[in-house]
Amino acid sequence: MAGITPIPTTRVGDYFIRQRLVNQVQGDQLDLFRLQTQVSTGRRIFLPSDDAPAALRAIALQRTIQRKEQSERNLAGSRSVLTVAETALVSVADSLRNVRGSAVESVSNLTSEESRNAAIADVDAAITALLTSGNANYNGRYLFAGSRTNVLPFDYAGEFIEYRGNEKSLQNYVDLEQLFTTNLPGTEVFGGVSGEVRGSTDLNPQLTENTLLTSINGGDGINTNSAISINVNDGLATTSSIIDLSGAVTIGDVIRRIEANPPAGSAIIRVDIVNNGLTVSTSAGTVRVGEVAAGRAAKELGIFTPTSVVPGPAMVGSDLDPLVRKTTLLSDLFGTKASGRLATTGANNDVVVTSAVNGAAWNGVSVVYATGGVAGSETASYNSFSQTLTVQIEDGQSTANDVIAAINAEGTFTAKLDGRDTTDVDLAGSGTVDINSFGVVTAGGGGTALDTASGLILTNGGDPVVLDVSTAETVEDFFNLISGAGVGLAGDINEAGSGIDVRSVLSGADFSIGENGGTTATQLGIRTYTAETQLADFNRGIGVATTSDLETLDTAKLDSLAIVARNGTALAVNLVGSTSLQDVVDNINTAPGNNTLGTAVLARLSTNGNSIELVDSSTPTTGNLVVQNPIGTQAAEYLGFVPAGDTQTSTNSTDVDGNYTIGGANVLGNDLLIVARDGTELWIDLAEATSVQDVLDRINTAAGNNSGTTAVLARLVGTGNGIELVDSSTTATPTDLIVRTVEGSQAAQYLGFVPDEQSQVSSNTGSGGNYSLTSEDRHTYEVDSVFNSLIRLRTALQDGDAVAIGEAVERIDVDLNRAVFASGEIGSRLQSLDAVETRLEDENVQLQSALSNEIDVDLVEAISQLTARQYALQASLQTAASILNMSILDYI
């Protein structure tokens, strides 16, 4: 509505009246038109300025509505994907139950090839059906390929099935802040990726100038925009400076910033990387590193000096524990390099010297300049005996750059310029060095270097592949080599960022990682067969079965027994307190009366060490050798001298020497027998052995081993995986080195020494004049997937191996659970989508109504205003007409 202008108080002119009337009529018509437009468009405001606050709210509401509408579209997309996935999974559980049924059935009728073939056909059909389900596709996107939606997730790779997707999921925003996982990766439905060979060692990467601050402290990093204070006391006063670390990215940034901002008037502040931490030192006085305000940066950098600590000339920081990253150099793993600074008076001529490899061996090396060089062709030489790196220079002529070139050419150490000494970028390294500059002694080296020369042996189903890793510089290069080996293995940094994991994607295949004569795999912690490997994990989880009884001595039954020698001497043997058969033997041999006068009853361990033999050579022979079972005692019966229920055993049978003998029964069991090439039998009992180390120990400490001419060494094989027996026994007439199954124990087979169905294995070859025998690698990893189970089941059915079929059926149960769980998961996600959709719809109604409140017209109000204005206009027109009509001229 037009503004209301006051009416002049004195007189009024005709022109003015007409002008006013026209204005008023126009104002009314404008209002009418506005109201009409409001009614016809339904909008209350047409431009933001019509009602600025409401318009602004409306713009925000419109935006929210548009965003929510996209959420609804996203939601619809997610729903389609999940619905198709749900459909694809319907048949999975049925297929698996079918296979399970026919497999179980075939076990009862294993001899019938027909029945087995039928079951195999079922397995094949199931594999095909599951492949179809696993490769389900919607709109050109594979549903079970993780986030690699354009890659066929499950496919044959030879006789195995490879999972080519990944374990990630695609996500979408189904509401402004609600991130929704749209698909299940194939691994969660069917399985497809093996458990990782967990890096068992902390690779302990070195702290370097390029170490990112975000990667220190195990990935916790330091707070951004922080600061620390450096306080130097020169004995008279303390001066401080605040080091602003905001924007610092690397450890090098921290070092540079501290060194560039020493407290005013204080001595030079140096920061060195020592033992994976920072050391802040001052050239005079003492230094204390503090926090600024309530900051934590100094603590996070490990260089905070607590008030309880008396400051010294150097603040030695703690290990900053940087993460392993893809770009971490392999040469930076497992330790630190020794380094030192070679300072010369003057600028642009200081040099930092760092050992080429890790290790404490390079600590304490003196680096000295010596005359004898010619500027431009300086030479460096390293004397490992005196631990001196000598650089021959032309005094006053050779520059720091020349020295660096010479040291780098020598190779034991690497050299670079010390940036702190640089006054101008263009002059860096151009300063001359001086013969009198002396004496850096390197420090800070430690740990070891990774053996990259040897490489690895990778096996995944097929033939072993020897992987040369000597070309790898970084951790990522190493992963690339593993995945590039073409055996379906992939490496990655573990979750903690401290080591590496290797995993397989090949279902149905056994995979392992072994050494290729070196220590690469072991150092990286990815060897699948180590001393710590648990026997229970051998043979795909079956373990290494040992003889089931007679494993331990029941010492409660070792009470006492009575022996009557053939000369009639009665020996009472007290066995209480005996904890081993050897104790029993000793107790018998030292029993009162034994080995005195003519009495000589010798107790000895049988060759297998599991029973006791009594040899009676007493004189004169007046009766039998008798072992009695005194009433209330159990020992004679337990040790097998007296049959159960009898009171004594009596014998006069003689051995070749004419002695009477009684043999006890086995009270302990053995699992395998090693016959050294000198013929010595080493009986190995693996009872309660849990790890490979236990097996090695049992063999290496077996009775009879390493005594006399016998020397059989058990160790992890240097190439590949397995236990290697190295027989260096000395004898003129060597027999084969033999490993034999004994006493019904299959341990030799389970350990991989003796092939299935055979009872022994022998060797008469080896290196270095020794005989050696190596066990097969029975500790392999495999992919946990439905395809793995089915392929294993198929093999088991072909072999007619009931145990393996049972094993596979158990695995199928697990797979079934997984598939059912995945189906349920998809169902519940669909349900939650429904909930979100309902909420979105409700919100949309509310938002639209709020928007409508802001910008839509209230029709009732608009129309009543329209009517009111209409009347006003009419009245205005009428009165105008009558005013304009009136004139005095009409009356004169």
Binding site: G13, D14, Y15, L47, P48, S49, R141, L170, T182
Partner: protein
Amino acid sequence: MSLFGSIHLGANTLRAMQIGLQVTGNNIANANTPGFVRQEVIYSPAPVQKIGNLTLGLGVQVDAIVDKIDKFVLDRLVGARGDRAGAEVHEEAYREIENLLNGLSGETDLSTEFTNFINSIGGVLDAPNDPAARHLVITLGDKLAQSLNSISSRATSIHEEFNDRIIASADEINVLTETIRKLNLQVATVEGSGASDSDAGGLRVERQKAIDRLSEILGITVNEQTSGAVNIAVGGEFLVFEGQRLTVESVLTSEDGLSTATIQFTSTQSPLESRVGELPAMYAARDQIVGDFLDGLDQLAGLFAFEFNKLHTQGQGLVGFDELTSVNSIPDADAALDEAGLAFTPVRGKFDLLVYNRAQNTTKTHEIFIQLDGLDDDTSLNDLTATLDAIDGISATINSGGKLEITSDSNDATFAFDDDTSGVLAALGLNTFFTGSTARDIAVNSELRGLGNEAKFAASGGGLGTPSDSANALVLYKFLDKSLDSAGGLTVPDVYDRLVNTVSQGATVAGAIAEGFRVFENTLDGQQQAVAGVNLDEEAINLITLQRIYQASARFIQTAAELLDVLINL
């Protein structure tokens, strides 16, 4: 006193009444003439005659014909016109910008374009390999960029329009001052330098019209001289002084591709400065309203482009680059990157260059550190180029245009970028989605245009080779919600809202102010017209009165004549 004297007296009266009738007639004739000032005849008794002891009146005489005008109100009107005209210019400028933004349409406004663009990324989230979804992102990005271009160019043309109007104002001022100068001379001549009491009537009306118009354009001070001429001054400088005037001219200067016109005195070349009126309002509308809007729009576009690019450069496309040339160039390749004149300034940080070998399906990550802490050896374009060039499988050079060119050395190798904390990629324009830094020049990077190039939309966060995930698209999708440090913690919609709010609040305020000035001017105009306006009824009454006096005077003459007849017939 004779009868002849009486007849003469009557004749005088008749003449006086005729003059009165003519003035009334003129008033009636101009009853509808805008700006007309009614005139009034000032009658006074004629000088008296002394006859003996008697003093006889000699009838009436016309002293003057004067303009009925309130000079005080007129002076105030001069100021009010300037205020109103200025406020209307502001109002108009805001209104035009508001129309440009079309903020409430919900379909075609900029806010919707922003939202639609970001919404389109939603389509890529669970279909990262779908070319159609990717293509939509690029199309809508293009549409958004074009909307920004178009708004910027339309705002620029408003800017130009104000320039044109300012230039036209100079001519108008010259014409008006010339008119006033000429009329000054005529008025002075007609009014006889104060010798007559009468006003120059129509000449004054004409001059007043020119003054009125001039007062709309400029805040002027009007001083009427005794001669009847007016002197007109602006900010202490006389535009018109009696019969002389100063001419003004417009001059154009150019800045940031925008030309700016100002008006100055031709003789002294000092600027014509005024605080009220259309001219200063046009300056303000052009420089503050349109200019600030353009700045705000550029800031919005620049913020959006750079921050979106910063996120985009963190990701990888479905395919890597075989070759890539930076969008932005650096004239001095030795300058530290934060001092090299880039539109966006990189900071200390690092980025990863991923070199992907297609044949081996392996990726090698190279960390590239950008040293920009001002302590020593800050990274220059030359340093960066050398570092990149040293990478196995990649060559980097600076081309003749000062742009960084990265190429892969073999068919097997492609490259991509990751994890840029320095912003250097976005600043140089490597793997960016948008190019440009203002609303005028923002555009979708040509790398992304063309068939198959939608694959380069960096939706993935998982590197190259392994087919794309949509990790980076998830981040981009949330871009509108991202609080930006470079915008003081605001989000892009916040900045947009602030821009719209500035315009709509400005428009509201300018509208209210203009309305206020209009009412005030109308009030003064009412007051002025109350004095100067013609009222026909009043004039009719005057007419009758004059007529009656005329008739009476005629009768008086007749009576005198009859008396003479009596005398003659004696």
